[in-house]
Symmetry: C2
Subunit: 103 residues, 2 copies
DNA sequence: TTAATATGCAACCATTTGGTTGCATGTCAA
DNA sequence: TTGACATGCAACCAAATGGTTGCATATTAA
């Protein structure tokens, strides 16, 4: 899970996920065309995303296709973010208490 | 939004959010007791979380209370993660197409 | 078979990050 | 008022990060 958070921390990597969300299964060179950096830099970012299990790859001849894997993002949404969402009302209540203590 | 993702990337900072989720309004020294690092290091992490608007502070005398702000986490869940959640069925469909191409 | 294409690997570099220590400032309480 | 306590600020450091260049390898197509 830490790997997923760290992978999502970089805007380039989120852009890569966006690109794959728009068109899944793109090859490295295809993904490079939208990025303002070298192919090797993009490959490093893709490796980090793959390490976090955010995408899977399929070697097809000399090309390598990249497929989005939405499962880790869902896990984060459910197991981690959900906890804070449920805390919204609590937080508002805390704010109220805080303001009352101001008096 | 980039600041929120980067803030969430560090496990220490997620732990701080967890701690505030368990007990909101804690002071710097209180938060430090659970952390295996110096007070100054914790203060830096808290500054990053505050910069990302993930928490607000309230100076009370010589102490400073820290309050969780769940709004940015909700925004990420709704505007960014939701997009990929909705793509789950699409991704499965893509996988099916991919496997069909294997023949 | 050979040239072009797609990717992989490694060394290298600048900047950012996450931590430290040391000291300064402000506030409470005896 | 003065000492203890809570926080702020700044310099410094090692390691991680994000990028580059150069070259190697593997596959396709003429």
């Amino acid at each position: 899970m830490d790997a997923v958070f760290r992978a999502l921390a970089d805007p380039t990597r989120r852009q890569l996920l966006d690109s794959l969300h728009a068109r899944n299964g793109q090859t490295l060179n295809a993904l490079c065309e939208e990025m303002a950096m070298t192919r090797q830099a993009v490959a490093k970012h893709l490796a980090i995303l793959e390490e976090a299990n955010l995408l899977t790859t399929l070697r097809r001849g000399r090309e390598k296709e990249h497929y989005l894997n939405p499962v880790p993002i869902n896990e984060i949404a459910e197991r981690w973010i959900g906890k804070f969402e449920r805390g919204r009302l609590t937080a508002l209540s805390d704010l109220k208490k805080r303001l009352e203590r101001e008096d």
